[in-house]
Symmetry: C2
Subunit: 355 residues, 2 copies
């Protein structure tokens, strides 16, 4: 019996979570495991209900679960609230509270979806299979910040700060992941300007010595943003900070042409994990059975793999998604000519049937 905190969130969050739970139900009966779901309000819906992005007691509940599956939070409705009352604050509290320092974001180009990539065929045909390993509970997101009067005028600041141990633990995650993949880590920083990047580069280089079979190269973040577009096939694992990882993982997700397909896992020590699709709440299509549930379904697969050590069940889900694509089923976001257009629910149902 595994206890999972389920946070549907806002916008399309509840619809995609619904499908992921149906998939988990199928896994449950097929693999003879029980899941216990604890539903938690977080994000805009919690602000509406309780006046805060997530209640302290709910955060405590989440911490007691083995894993968390999250839809998406936020929306224009709450965009003008002060910083500490925004839906995004729930994400930061969850990430920080669960201490999930390693955000894994695979950006994989599906053969069937090659035409959805904005990149030219010559580039795309070399294949794209990148794992972005983003530090998630440090850097500018969590460093000292404020707003004050200096020399008679208002200033505002944020601090990009990293300690040796923070860099060590995220570097290890990247090298361990690379060992099971194509054995290449590209560490992205701005060491020609930033002190924090210089420490980053030093520590990553030191950790690399423990992984002689993994190749390490360093790249400046401005160059990385170019190389992702020029030749994404050069990347295996990208290791980077919270802020740079935010930018580069979104860029990586766009070049594979299907943000509705991309899952993510945020891991800490032990088996605890937070799993969520990379996409947002898409308020414009919410409640219309238009959203692509695949990213959330694949996030559930990552949960089975990383938190519950159920590799077979994870593979079964991933395989079921591939079959659905092969059979031509597409939600609107990935639809191309001659495919079969389906809604959120039907896509979920087809994937369930393929398990």
């Amino acid at each position: 019996m595994h206890r999972i905190a389920v946070i549907p969130g806002d916008g399309i969050g509840p619809e995609v979570i619904e499908q992921a739970l149906l998939v988990l139900d199928k896994v449950s009966s097929k693999f003879g495991i029980k899941f216990d779901y604890i539903f938690i309000d977080a994000g805009g819906c919690a602000i509406d209900k309780y006046g805060v992005p997530i209640r302290d007691e709910d955060l405590e509940l989440v911490k007691k679960c083995e894993a968390t599956l999250l839809g998406a939070v936020g929306g224009p409705k709450w965009d003008n609230l002060p910083g500490n009352l925004r839906p995004e604050q729930a994400l930061l509290k969850l990430r920080g509270g669960l201490k999930v320092y390693a955000n894994l974001r695979p950006a994989v180009l599906y053969d069937e979806l090659k035409d959805s990539s904005p990149l030219r065929r010559e580039i795309v045909s070399k294949g794209i299979d990148i794992l972005v390993v983003r530090e998630l509970i440090g850097g500018m997101y969590f460093g000292p910040k404020g707003r004050e009067i200096r020399n008679g005028e208002e200033v505002a600041y944020d601090t990009e700060i990293y300690s040796v141990s923070e860099i060590e633990r995220i570097a290890k995650v990247a090298f361990e992941a690379a060992k099971k993949r194509r054995k290449k880590v590209t560490s992205v920083d701005k060491a020609n300007i930033l002190e924090s990047s210089r420490l980053w580069r030093e520590v990553v280089s030191r950790i690399a010595k423990d992984y002689p079979d993994v190749e390490l190269n360093h790249m400046y973040v401005d160059n990385a943003s170019m190389q992702l577009v020029k030749d994404p096939s050069q990347f295996d694992v990208i290791l980077t900070s919270n802020m740079f990882g935010d930018i580069l993982s979104d860029e990586a997700s766009m070049i594979v042409g299907s943000i509705g397909m991309l899952a993510s896992a945020s891991l800490g020590e032990g088996s605890i994990g937070l799993y969520e699709p990379i996409h947002g709440t898409a308020p414009d299509i919410a409640g219309q059975d238009l959203a692509n549930p695949v990213a959330t379904i694949l996030s559930a697969a990552m949960m089975l793999r990383y938190s519950f050590d159920m590799e077979d069940a994870a593979k079964a889900i991933e395989n079921a998604v591939k079959i659905a694509l092969k059979e031509g089923y597409r939600t609107r976001d990935i639809y191309t000519e001659n495919c079969k257009l389906v809604g959120t629910k039907q896509m979920g149902k087809i994937i369930c049937e393929n398990i």
Copy 2:
């Protein structure tokens, strides 16, 4: 008589500067204006000669000139020096010393070079003509930074800090530029996380009120990095901070497919300016007559426009470049089938002849 500081720098810097000076000579005779060149060592070559990226007395000389034309600085040879002794430090000293807070980086897709863009034809065919207005002497590049022991372990930090007046002046540059273009400013920040971005957004929104004919929209930096690849035609002027501008302007330069073509101007109060190509020193092709001199030649054109108010001469250069492209001349970096492959010198000569 205009006094120009000329900084050839490292790698391909000297070769491309040579061609830009030949073009300026042609402009000089054609438009009856005299230029006086003061040659300055900065970057790796200055480290080799004097042990510092730029000497204080040389920086003072540069400050006394009306404008500075720079090739490129840096290279692997100097990559392992400590932070304050790197070639890049010369750039920071020049930018800071000249107080050029506004970095203008046009990313324009030339019709003739459409096939060099990594983006699909459907996307590229809508055209790309973006001006990135990047704040250049604030933010994480110049904020307090350091490395120290805290709680028994080493940490390193950098501070992203902006004041109201710093944001105001760069915002004005963006809105003024937009007025002369397609009248749209996209201000890029991370206001859902960063205090500095929240102040940025407030100040930019306030300045926007003075430009009722210019449309303003705000975009998060992670989304901007996706949108640049998805549909770059949506952008006119992108206004952003030093760090985000570094990343996004490089991404923008890559999507137009020809970083060897892209110029930049860094402006302060009055007519002072620092002009340089966006590309780096390309040590692998240095000294082989392979580099594309166009970015530097177009930087010289920007110098004529912004520092010397010589719009006609600037246009004459830009036009000469277009003719060279129309006639099929290409350096290696932009070569495609059935074009005429030329070297650095011949490309410069052809452009001179077209003026």
